[in-house]
């Protein structure tokens, strides 16, 4: 494990729930509002310059986690630390420093770029808000940032809709980089892009990371991609991390039955593999009513009585990496 002192970003015991809306009928009948536990006791550390991939299916809490990390959601419990300092304690200028240091790249660049502003204004606004440049400096800095993401100076004068999806994602990345963050949280930054364009943006992330020493938290459902891009991977299921470890070793010998099934489910470019039983049977349970004990037990081929009653802790058992399973083992690995 990485010693805490080196951690760029760390999360300890994060929990976050959302309260559903109550209709008038619910109120009249005295029904309580539904509560969705999006994150349960999530802990991890990311070292400086490291890429942590976060994978999981819908409802696993990966996007909520991203939003908590950049402060778009307040957590209910737990602590987020940046270079040893807690996010919650940051007010005023300390908070502003954190906001600069940890930036987010969203899935849909259309939703994060103002269509009425020119690209130069979109990027320059971030510089002005954080008082990083003024006047003619802004234009110079915007040109530098566009060059960083391999777009020409002339892009600054055009509007976002004049660009293709891949180019818009480059613009969104340039804007995130405008405030000189040390850490980028990227939430499915490739899934709105065409297949032939995805590799361009993957290379851009690799290049920027090497050049600027960025720490990257990369959230995706694409296992091929996360395997390639990450140093370490965290696998989430219904609000918890079920396994976290080094990317190559974890893919070669996943310990948690869910990770094993997830990897077996992901389509590979090898003709005619689908045959026989489902890789993971059953449906993803509703996060509004997660199963007791280990949330994966209704779909798990190895579930026993203890799994139905006790939620397993995320622990390192056999000198490998942390896994939240009562029967974690390399056996049955794919």
């Amino acid at each position: 494990m990485i010693p805490a002192a080196e951690a760029e970003l760390s999360a300890a015991g994060l929990s976050k729930s959302f309260v559903g809306s109550r209709s008038l009928i619910d109120m009249a009948l005295g029904r309580p509002a539904s509560r969705l536990q999006a994150l349960r006791d999530v802990s991890f550390e990311v070292a400086r310059g490291e890429t942590l991939g976060i994978v999981g299916e819908s409802g696993c809490g990966k996007s909520t986690l991203a939003r908590c990390l950049v402060g778009l959601h307040e957590v209910d419990r737990g602590e987020i630390r940046y270079r040893g300092q807690t996010l919650g304690e940051r007010k005023g200028s300390a908070r502003s420093r954190y906001d600069r240091a940890v930036q987010m790249v969203f899935q849909d660049p259309n939703g994060s770029l103002n269509p009425r502003m020119s690209v130069g204004e979109c990027i320059g606004e971030a510089l002005a808000v954080h008082k990083l440049a003024k006047g003619a400096q802004i234009a110079r800095r915007v040109a530098e940032l566009l060059a960083l993401v391999n777009l020409p100076d002339s892009a600054a004068l055009r509007r976002p809709h004049e660009f293709s999806g891949g180019q818009r994602q480059r613009i969104a990345i340039a804007r995130a980089l405008a405030v000189e963050p040390s850490c980028l949280i990227a939430d499915e930054p490739l899934s709105a892009l065409d297949v032939s364009v995805q590799a361009q943006i993957v290379n851009l992330f690799l290049e920027l990371q090497a050049r600027l020493g960025l720490t990257l938290v990369f959230i995706t459902h694409d296992l091929r991609l996360v395997h390639h891009l990450s140093h370490r991977i965290a696998v989430m299921y219904l609000g918890r991390i079920v396994e976290i470890g080094p990317a190559q070793a974890l893919f070669a010998a996943p310990r948690h039955p869910y990770t094993q099934g997830l990897i077996a489910s992901a389509p590979r470019m090898e003709p005619k593999r689908v045959a026989g039983r489902d890789a993971v049977a059953g449906e993803i349970p509703s996060p509004l009513a997660p199963p007791p004990g280990c949330a994966f037990h209704p779909r798990c081929p190895r579930a026993a009585d203890i799994c139905r009653q006790v939620a397993p802790a995320l622990e390192t058992r056999d000198g490998s990496w942390p896994v939240a399973c009562h029967f974690a083992s390399a056996e049955g690995a794919v």
Partner: protein, 329 residues
């Protein structure tokens, strides 16, 4: 492979009138599907794969001009009278969509929707229809089918809705199923289940299928043959093993090379330069030429024809014999 095709498209063209001019969404597509075969139709957004699928059943709106030939079991669907087309929709050719919620009727129960289809295709007796609906639900892997027939679509999960839509498509026992990105909106573990289900059903029922997808992994795992589309045209058609072993179109080659393959971790990928083309301003030559590493002057000059290389294999690429192995040895 020698069987006569069940569905055969020749020179299919679909042109949409837009404010910016005529948009050639499908620009001369040739395809064959044999009985019992799963044909993958793969391409990026705007490649014309979904429009091709909709043109087969005459599902495009008024602004679309469709020409060419669509022969299903020897019958020309583009010239079939509307009543005949209605009979073929469902009984001859079924269709499932990416987002079942937009295809299912939200105010009718799943049971009513399956039975409606059965009635429309001549299943007269209400008791028999109910029994057949339960059987279909079981067939597509919906647990407790008797109870779930009374549910509305919103009471189903995404995966179960897709299963229900497959049950409705199967109700009229089609010989060909058109599947438009049926797993794109689903999670990986559910996608795996649905692909296995579709594969099992085509095997058991001897049904043919066209599976439209943007994911080459899905094609590799599910299809017998694949046609790769780019800018409204078929770039290449081949048996799946052949395509992944040695693609014969520079676009397929580039697409396979650009994906991560468990090579050196964190090594740069091999991206395809540039952007997909604009369909309102079609190029005189190969649409991929501006992005192609193997392009010759001839590629930009005229449109390369789709040349048959072997039975069930064809390529529209002038560089097809000069492509190096795409996978590092």
């Amino acid at each position: 492979m020698s069987a006569a095709p069940l569905l055969s498209l020749r020179g299919l063209e679909v042109v949409f009138a837009t404010r910016r001019g005529a948009l050639h969404a499908v620009d001369g597509v040739d395809l064959d599907v044999r009985p019992g075969e799963i044909l993958g139709l793969v391409g990026e957004s705007g490649s014309g794969k979904s429009v091709t699928l909709r043109a087969i059943l005459g599902l495009l709106r008024g602004s679309a001009r469709v020409s060419g030939e669509v022969a299903f079991a020897g019958e020309d669907l583009l010239r079939a009278p509307p009543r005949r087309l209605e009979q073929i929709r469902g009984a001859g050719i079924g269709m499932i969509f990416q987002e079942p919620m937009t295809a299912l009727n939200p105010v009718l129960t799943i049971g009513v929707q399956i039975e409606e289809t059965l009635a429309a295709h001549g299943q007269g007796d209400a008791r028999a229809r109910r029994a057949r609906a339960v059987e279909l639900m079981r067939e597509v892997g919906i647990p407790a089918p008797e109870a779930r027939l009374a549910n509305f679509p919103h009471e189903f999960s995404g995966g179960m809705r897709q299963r229900a839509m497959i049950a409705i498509a199967l109700a009229a026992a089609p010989r060909l199923l058109l599947a438009d990105e049926p797993t794109t909106a689903l999670d990986v573990t559910i996608q795996d289940q649905i692909l296995r289900l579709l594969k099992r059903l085509t095997d058991e029922l001897g049904m043919a299928m066209i599976l439209v997808t943007h994911d080459l992994g899905v094609v590799a795992e599910t299809c017998d043959r694949v046609s790769v589309m780019y800018a409204g045209r078929v770039a290449e058609t081949a048996p799946v093993e052949t395509l992944f072993a040695a693609p014969r179109h520079a676009y397929t080659h580039a697409l396979l090379r650009s994906a991560p393959h468990g090579g050196t971790p964190r090594a740069p990928l091999n991206p395809i330069r540039g952007q997909p083309p604009q369909l309102v301003a079609p190029l005189p030559g190969c649409a991929f030429a501006p992005r192609c590493d193997f392009a010759l002057p001839a590629c930009g000059a005229e449109r390369p024809p789709l040349v048959e290389l072997a039975p069930a294999q064809a390529s529209a690429c002038l560089a097809r014999d000069r492509l190096p192995p795409w996978r590092a040895p």
